[in-house]
Amino acid sequence: MSSLSATIQEIFNEPGCAKNANKSDAERKKGCTKQLQPGGAAGGCAFDGAKIALQPFTDVAHLVHGPIACEGNSWDNRGAASSGASIWRTGFTTDMNETDIVFGGEKRLYKAIKEIINKYNPPAIFVYQTCVPAMIGDDINAVCKAASQKLGKPVIPVNSPGFVGPKNLGNKLAGEALLEHVIGTQEPDYTTPYDINLIGEYNLSGELWQVKPLLDELGIRILSCISGDGKYREVASSHRARAAMMVCSKAMINVARKMEERYGIRFFEGSFYGIQDSSDSLRQIARLLVERGAPSELIEHTEVVIAREEARAWAAIEPYKPRFAGKRALLITGGVKSWSVVAALQEAGLELVGTSVKKSTKEDKERIKQLMGQDAHMIENMTPREIYTMLKNAKADIMLSGGKSQFVALKATMPWLDINQERCHAYMGYVGMVKLVEEIDRALFNPMWEQLRRPVPWDEVAKNRQKAIAQMDAQAAAVAADPETTRRAKKVCFCKEVDLGTIEDAIRSHGLTSVEAVRQHTNAFGGCCKRRIEDILAKMPASSPLAMLQAAE
């Protein structure tokens, strides 16, 4: 436990974090996340964060040490894509029972590790600590160490029980596990001056592959992606890269900074969302590689590729711009995306009516101001009810957010697009940007919205009927009790709203000749009356000229 506390304190001191830099020592000690509010919190725990960060390593067995909740309720729920191995999608858990709680779960954990190696023989096993075994004192570091030695296979403890903090802390604790146990433990078969690491890129919906072809074309090799479509051997030998890109997320800034510190791998924070950002990132990669000794032509080649891809993308987006004119988007997401996606949307011609900055740094906010102007609507914390109201009142034409808030938009019958991890489309790089624009267009102009926003037509019908019934009731009260009354009281409609006498009177006294006229004089309105009124009209004596005149009105 004490080593975990130390690690957490170290993370809170992260010098690479711009947010931290502005804090007092006392503030810094409290950590970089707000205290969670009971009954008002949302979002995952530290364990969740660690798993998100590491599970995209595709050839590793991910073993969760804890009761069934931690893995049983959550496995196979991420959209990362793999180009080969599939064991990362297999759910492994010790599924601790009551006995384990009483006597400790270390033995079960060791046996579980052994079973996995016997049955599946992966190149490594990541073992995730969770709250309950942490509480009862299971020492997963010790178990993993023993298992590694006895079973001759890397078994990596990931010490990130849920209750130590939120998801983003878990991301960093996952990074610490890599730094301590994995990175630098193996050597690559060969190296090139074009080797880079991508840090914090999870290859959701395969989006990495929207960019990788361009890197391939430039001869740039992804030595290791941490962790999208990654392999254990790659991350273990990632310390030989020449440069690194921290992709669109501060989630693993500790990894990037410490690798720079330890191995001299310079990094930059960049994004592949949007055309400009993609170009900037490619340029930075080329620049860093050239600085570390890659031939300087790389920069020119990169510019050629950028020029070609930008031209293509702009051409593809062009037709949409007039369609998007005046369309307003609301962006509810976190961190870097709060500005990188803003830029992307603006490139497509959309107006941004607001972007959430809940998890954004001061630096992030500066960039938003640059993009959206000084009076940018930066949303600190908006409740679902507020978002719903905003959309219901049509203050925005589309919302882009993560999956959990989608129903706020949909129930307000407003277009919504998933830009977080559960989406099924990939939006990275130039092709991804074009795809995003296509999807926004599809969402905005779906003819469905118009139908869903129409009022229910029966409500109108019902209102009319209420009025009619009220008047009928008043008339009915006047009816006395002789045979003619009975005859006359006979209901004409199935809906029982109009009686024969009322209609006969109306016809007689006003000399009516048409159904329409009868309706006006009796408030009979319905469909079923029509035929029957015609019958009555037919039986009544011919009307006076005055009546004819009236009917012609």
Partner: protein, 467 residues
């Protein structure tokens, strides 16, 4: 919006169309105790029979006048007479419905004349219900046969009301042939929930919903009775479903004065809003809470499904009313109706939300789906070969559906039916994406989609792959 075209081909390949006599016979199957009879060679009946049996998985009554070559030359009077007699004596039907075929139409058999003669010669048949419809194979299609036959039933079987009062709760329903027994059940439930008493003409729900009768009967095992049909003139309203039913509805109005309302579609949110509002109007009853709830569920289903259905490029082949109904609903969900093929003319065709509707065959549909990169195929079971070659998801709709069970219970009307269709189609698309469109490192290697050549030799090129 759409232009209706007919391709200039001498050879129809993989027909979408079926013949109108069996469409006519199909309508007769919705009458109780009926025996449909095709006036033609026995193959005409045999093929139709097999088609119905494979679709419904039910014993289906359908007889033939068994015209031989010689009889064809001499004229079919004797065959018609014998057939009616044999059926009348053996099957003890309540009605016999006769449709002509290509053979007997080419020959010019005057079946109406025959019937008159038969009635004269055989007093026991003088009042026996016999309905004849002229349905040559070489004209029109299945839907037309149904359309003409129902109109004929109205002309022959419905009595002009004399004196009797109209029953305000009673409503006639004239359903198009694109509605399944399951659809008719759903409509009956909805109407009854408004306190209305519907008479369906024809009522396939009573005969072909797949139930188990207590006794064996060679005729239809349910459906609307001839007596009930006779009294349809005392209803307050006629509800016609599908443009094909205008003719019958007009016939009903002309004969009995019962006004009608035509609903061209009953799959989709707005069409059902109109339908429910109409029922509330004519019944004078508020809409039951159930339907408000179902409406909400449909709206929610549309929201969930539009991510998957929106933008899909749809190739659809169906008879006009079904084509109009399904393609409009999907168009309204954001799908693009990219290829549309149908069997016969109809006023609804030009209102389909696409550029062009072809009166053609499944070869045309396949070719269009291929060249225009469609990603969803909707047609009847005969589309299965095309779907396999195109490697796109295939939603079975229409008649026949012989390679799956439960065809008679497929539901597409009402809020609930629309919801089911939407879920089913969206789930097909989702399954297809998972199975066939997962991204790979090469998915975006080149961002340009290859243009597909016309598919002149598509069958040859897939010879090996499809055993």
């Amino acid at each position: 919006m759409a232009i209706v075209t007919t391709p200039k081909k001498a050879c129809a390949v993989n027909p979408l169309k079926m013949s109108q006599p069996i469409g006519g016979a199909f309508a007769f199957m919705g009458l109780r105790g009926a025996m449909p009879l095709l006036h033609g060679s026995q193959g005409c009946t045999s093929f139709g029979l097999t088609l119905f049996v494979r679709h419904f998985k039910e014993a289906v009554p359908l007889q033939t006048t068994a015209m031989s070559e010689v009889a064809t030359v001499l004229g079919g009077y004797e065959n018609v007479e014998q057939a009616i007699f044999n059926i009348y004596n053996r099957a003890k039907p309540e009605i016999i419905g006769i449709c002509s075929t290509g053979v007997t139409e080419t020959n010019g058999d005057d079946v109406d004349g025959y019937i008159k003669l038969i009635r004269e010669q055989h007093p026991q048949l003088a009042k026996f219900p016999l309905v004849f419809v002229s349905t040559p194979d070489f004209k029109d299609a299945f839907q037309d046969g149904w359309e003409k036959t129902v109109a004929c039933m109205v002309d022959v079987l419905v009595e002009a009301p004399v004196g009797a009062e109209r029953d305000p709760a009673r409503v006639n329903v004239l359903p198009g042939c694109h509605l399944t027994p399951g659809d008719l059940y759903e409509l009956r439930t909805i109407l009854e929930d408004f306190g209305l008493k519907p008479s369906f003409l024809p009522d396939l729900a009573g005969s072909l919903d797949g139930h188990i009768p207590d006794e064996f009967t060679p005729t239809t095992i349910g459906g609307i009775g001839v007596d009930e049909v006779a009294g349809m003139g005392r209803s307050s309203w006629t509800i016609a479903i599908g443009a094909q039913m205008r003719r019958a509805a007009e016939a009903m109005q002309a004969k009995t004065g019962v006004p009608f309302r035509l609903f061209e579609r009953l799959c989709g949110l707005i069409p059902n809003d109109e339908f429910i509002a109409f029922l509330s109007d004519i019944s004078g009853r508020p809409v039951p809470a159930k339907y408000r709830r179902q409406r909400g569920q449909l709206a929610d289903a549309m929201l969930d499904a539009h991510f998957h259905v929106g933008g899909r490029k749809l190739a659809i082949g169906a008879e006009p009313d079904l084509l109009f109904d399904l393609s409009s609903m999907l168009h309204e969900m954001g799908a693009q109706v990219t290829a549309a093929v149908t069997t016969t003319q109809s006023p609804v065709l030009e209102r389909i939300g696409t550029n062009e509707v072809l009166i053609g065959d499944l070869e045309d549909l396949e070719e269009l789906a291929w060249t225009r990169n469609c990603d969803l195929l909707i047609t009847h079971s005969h589309g299965r070969q095309a779907a396999a070659r195109l490697k796109i998801p295939f939603y079975r709709a229409g008649f026949p559906m012989f390679d799956r069970i439960g065809a008679g219970h497929q539901l597409s009307v009402g809020y609930r039916g629309t919801r089911d269709v939407i879920f089913n189609i969206a789930n097909l698309v989702i399954a297809d994406r998972e199975e066939n469109h997962q991204p790979t490192p090469d998915s975006w290697r080149t961002s340009r989609q290859p243009l597909k050549p016309s598919r002149r030799s598509f069958i040859a090129s897939t010879e090996e792959s499809i055993a």
